[in-house]
Assembly symmetry: C2
Homo-oligomer: 247 residues x 2
DNA sequence: GAAAAACCTTGATGTGTATCAAGGGGGCAT
DNA sequence: ATGCCCCCTTGATACACATCAAGGTTTTTC
């Protein structure tokens, strides 16, 4: 109904897989952060860009041999694991500039699956090469340690959310998280399209679809939010913050 | 009532802070794993051992400047973070051989607090030195990446547990986790003392104390477990596995 | 472009765990 | 030892969210 994702219309990066790390507009939030010019060029050499994957396609499956981590260049993915009883648990959503796949390092097997929520382009970073380069470039090594550490703290935030917060607080927290991640990418913090289904949201937040839907309706009634299918407009971010209770 | 923790009675390691990495009996599950003899000696030089901390004392507080990660040598700790509304969330329990503090790397601030659940001795590993040594020793770098990755996958397991599992399943999963971690340390997998309170267990599992207590009672009634205050004896591990539903 | 499938919303009812309440027991300090 | 405090257990009640149900809408498929 409304226009395409703004990402698609920007000039560098986006789905274009000929871009390099040096001119990628995401490099301030991706791996090259804080690297010198020559360092970026070295990193650029190990990064493999491939053509976009379609919605619903997998970047990797749980149990696959781990070889690379991935940086999202455009689009969005979800990561999920399957329990022994066959239920799925969504463990994260990944937007442009974010890194995924690090959970595969410990056992050399991917601990989760990654699936595109829309047409998505990624940079593949072979882990062996990243390790070697890290040993030579202290700032890269540090940066990668930091990225892994951030994944840990974000997982811990989700643990807290699931353990202590109501349905309303959980949904509010997710909206605020997506909003601030959009802002970091210089996109609107108040109007955006949710790339994932209500099912995925519910799964991620430990709620049923029905509950998620009801919370959206309530927030709309309170005039905190304008919801139109997957299009979201935040009308009162302070109101949502007050619901979220997580500052 | 029963004897002291077996840990206290073993000869090397334990609370003895003159032990070194080379002869520490935990080194097969701690950082030195897979290091060559000389490498272990180099690691040993940066590791700082101090005298044990008492029950209730903090190893670090949330918000403290991050300088080191820690390996548990004896005893046990819990890690927790405080939400803006003042509630605590226990994010993990740490036993001998396990590493904690990695959540502080991303912002140079500890993202959680660590508190001793009983008298506890740790090895402090200054992160700057660890970084430098990692750049020189590929196997150490890899091993530390793996340890961080394992923390991520364990957090994701907890996320799944909190999101999808009943009170009974959560408690069963924790008991099995502690049991297998004991086994890894060559201690009994079926008889052990829980160092943490029911309050901590409930907090970690997203349950109230009352619910945890009721689950223990039910498991005892089913003769899966013998509970005597903090002493646990697993009578039917298959029974507990069937409750846990997480293999 | 029509049919099918998947997704979303809203309402009615059920249930697992929280909350409230009260009593018992263990461990620590003095 | 003794007393206090914190922890643990058990029971009664309440509630938030799950489940069941049904209809509407969007997206996919052919």
């Amino acid at each position: 109904m409304t226009g395409q994702s703004q990402e698609l219309l920007t000039k560098p990066c986006a789905h274009d897989y000929k871009v390099n790390c040096g001119n990628c507009r995401l490099n301030s939030i991706c791996l090259p952060l804080a690297l010198e010019r020559d360092d970026v060029e070295q990193l650029d050499e190990i990064v493999q860009r491939s053509k976009p994957i379609q919605k619903g396609r997998f970047l990797y499956h749980e149990g696959d041999e781990f070889q690379s981590v991935f940086a999202v260049r455009s689009g969005a993915l979800k990561a999920f694991r399957t329990t022994d009883s066959g239920r799925e648990q969504v463990t994260g959503f990944y937007f442009p500039g974010e890194i995924l796949g690090m959970d595969g390092i410990s056992n050399n097997l991917h601990a989760s699956s990654a699936q595109a929520l829309e047409t998505t382009a990624v940079c593949e970073i072979p882990f062996n090469s990243l390790e070697k380069l890290s040993a030579l470039m202290p700032s890269l090594q540090r940066h990668f340690f930091q990225i892994m550490s951030r994944e840990i703290t974000e997982d811990q935030q989700l643990i807290t959310l699931l353990s202590k917060n109501s349905a309303e607080e959980r949904v509010a927290a997710l909206i605020l998280s997506i909003s601030s991640r959009n802002a970091r990418r210089k996109l609107s913090a108040t109007r955006f399209r949710l790339p994932m289904s209500r099912i995925d949201i519910g799964n991620y937040l430990g709620l049923t679809v029905e509950t998620v839907s009801r919370v959206f309706s309530r927030m709309q009634k309170l005039e905190f939010l304008q919801v139109n299918n997957k299009e979201i407009e935040i009308k009162d971010i302070e109101g949502i913050r007050s619901l979220a209770d997580i500052g």
